[in-house]
């Protein structure tokens, strides 16, 4: 199955992660870059590409505080390709577009990063002004006026409909959070390290029904870096290269959270299997977006772990997704326990697991292939990562 021209992940790195980290977003980014370079055995002189999602966005600095230009300036990087943009498929666009650039020969070692400052923005809102001149435009203009401020509200619409159509229950959905907290207890970097029980879950306060507190990740300060490198550099790397077997995205006609279209993760996953020789049966482990637990359920269905509508029953009892189960997911605690790294944390964990370097969170079995999916609603991107 190995395609020798596939770009590889040569290194991963991450800053401190917390509900509030007293360090600027740019310095967090550089912390993560340094760790990733060290992990890969590369230096700044090797880097010729920079990529991020969604770039620096002035209307949502808490979500998007650092752009490619900031990093290139700060480190005086000599690049032959860079890209930071919001009108792309999802958080993983920063990685997927780097894969395309490396394939095209535009760069050989690309720093792909995702930095987020939602923790600091809550503590020091004046430093992260969110400005919407002349009112809300675009996809949110028909949503925000109804005090539907949070993605929790948007995701809850899908969840309530799924509960209604398929009989999905809170007890079933709760297994995502229980699994995350159980895994987070093993992760020294996790924000929440105490396991929760089903009783805790069912007693938790509602955020946006049927999603309760434990169904939601926590706003964080974090930066995570993934270095995407050309296949022919693999032999010079310090660490085990992880091949990027396939990257998929899809958007079914409408960029919207609220209209009656299939969430983008479903066509994205179908596309992923078209682009790869692997099938879901070949995959050992999953790192599936849990910014809200219901999104994980959608990825489970989309990837074909169970038929559409059966996600709740698949989760029942929680044994399938546990670290000793048939398909372990979110082995570092996901975002629910380890903080909103906005998807890049799953790639870091996938790489560490496949290399056998995940430390306390290492799953004790020989694993070759990990699937990871990020996003919700119209945002969606998935990747297959392999250790050959």
């Amino acid at each position: 199955m190995s395609n020798k021209s596939d770009p590889v992940i040569s290194g991963v790195g991450q800053s401190a992660v917390g509900k509030f980290v007293d360090r600027s977003p740019l310095l967090l980014t550089i912390d993560a870059i340094k760790e990733a370079l060290d992990d890969a055995g590369l230096t700044l002189a090797d880097i010729d590409g920079v990529s991020t999602w969604p770039g620096r966005v002035e209307t949502m600095l808490e979500m998007a505080p650092v752009g490619c230009d900031d990093v290139i300036e700060a480190l005086r990087l000599n690049v032959t390709w860079y890209n930071g943009a919001y009108e792309t498929a999802a958080q993983y666009s920063a990685i997927g577009d780097a894969v395309a650039a490396v394939r095209a020969g535009w760069a050989r070692h690309v720093i792909a990063f995702r930095t987020i400052s939602q923790g600091s923005a809550r503590k020091k809102p004046e430093e992260f002004p969110s400005v919407h001149p002349k009112g809300i435009a675009g996809v949110m203009a028909n949503t925000l006026p109804y005090h539907a401020y949070s993605a929790a509200n948007w995701v809850a619409q899908y969840a309530s409909r799924h509960f209604h159509d398929y009989g999905t229950t809170r007890e079933q959905l709760g297994q995502i959070a229980i699994n995350a907290r159980r895994n987070g207890a093993l992760n020294p970097k996790a924000i929440f390290r105490e396991p929760i029980t089903m009783d805790d879950y069912l007693a938790a306060r509602m955020i946006s029904s049927p999603l309760c507190l434990y169904d939601c990740d926590t706003l964080s300060d974090a930066s995570t870096v993934v270095i995407v490198s050309a296949a022919d550099t693999a032999r010079d790397l310090r660490n085990i290269p992880i091949r990027i077997d396939a990257v998929a995205q899809a958007l079914p006609g409408r960029y919207t959270w609220d209209q009656p279209v299939e969430p983008a993760c479903y066509p994205t996953a179908r596309r992923l299997w078209e682009l790869s020789d692997y099938s879901i049966k070949d995959v050992d482990i999953g790192q599936l977006y849990d910014g809200f637990s219901f999104l994980t359920l959608q990825w489970i269905e989309a990837l074909g772990l169970c038929p559409i509508g059966e996600g709740g029953r698949y989760l029942e009892g929680g044994h399938r997704i546990a670290r000793d189960g048939e398909f372990p997911i979110n082995t570092n605690g996901g975002q629910i326990a380890a903080g909103r790294t906005h998807a890049f944390g799953y790639v870091r964990e996938a790489v560490r697991q496949l290399r056998g370097q995940a430390g306390e969170t290492q799953v004790d079995r020989d694993m070759k292939v990990c699937v990871t999916g990020a996003g919700g609603g119209p945002l969606s991107m998935a990747m297959l990562l392999a250790r050959d």
Partner: protein, 137 residues
């Protein structure tokens, strides 16, 4: 209740946000093939005709999905409140995100019948929905 975030008015969407002035909900529709276009766009996605225009609609419908929000995301926000997606009668392929307001709003459920009402704020008439009489419990 807290002030509603204001949508940016454009020549294309102004009719939608001001329709409540006359107490009638309007949705953009293609004059050639009847396709409903929401949010409003200058071209029909089905037949590519540019002959599109706001069309008054009944303003009744059913709740397609609903969440009750308990988190006070902003100062002055009175919780809990219901946010729903409403499927309008006779308007295929369109859901309106909105608030269910009035008696029994937070007890509303998928499938409940609802009726549009409007809340004006600084020249914008936000379409909200109340539960139809027979559905109140």
């Amino acid at each position: 209740m807290a002030t509603r975030p204001r949508p940016r008015l454009t020549p294309l969407n102004r009719f939608y946000w001001e329709a409540g002035r006359e107490g009638v909900l309007k949705i953009m529709q293609c004059r050639e093939c009847g396709t409903w276009i929401h949010p409003a766009a200058p071209i029909c996605p089905s037949c590519l005709s540019e002959n599109v225009a706001p069309q008054p609609v009944e303003g009744t419908g059913g709740i397609y999905s609903i969440t009750v929000n308990y988190q006070a995301w902003a100062p002055g926000l009175d919780v809990p409140y219901a946010i729903a997606r409403v499927a309008l009668d006779g308007v295929d392929g369109v859901l309106l995100t909105t608030n269910i307001v009035g008696d029994g709003a937070v007890e509303a459920a998928i499938g409940d019948r609802v009726q549009v009402c409007f809340e004006e704020q600084d020249g914008i008439w936000f379409p909200l929905f109340t539960r139809a009489q027979e559905d109140k419990r």
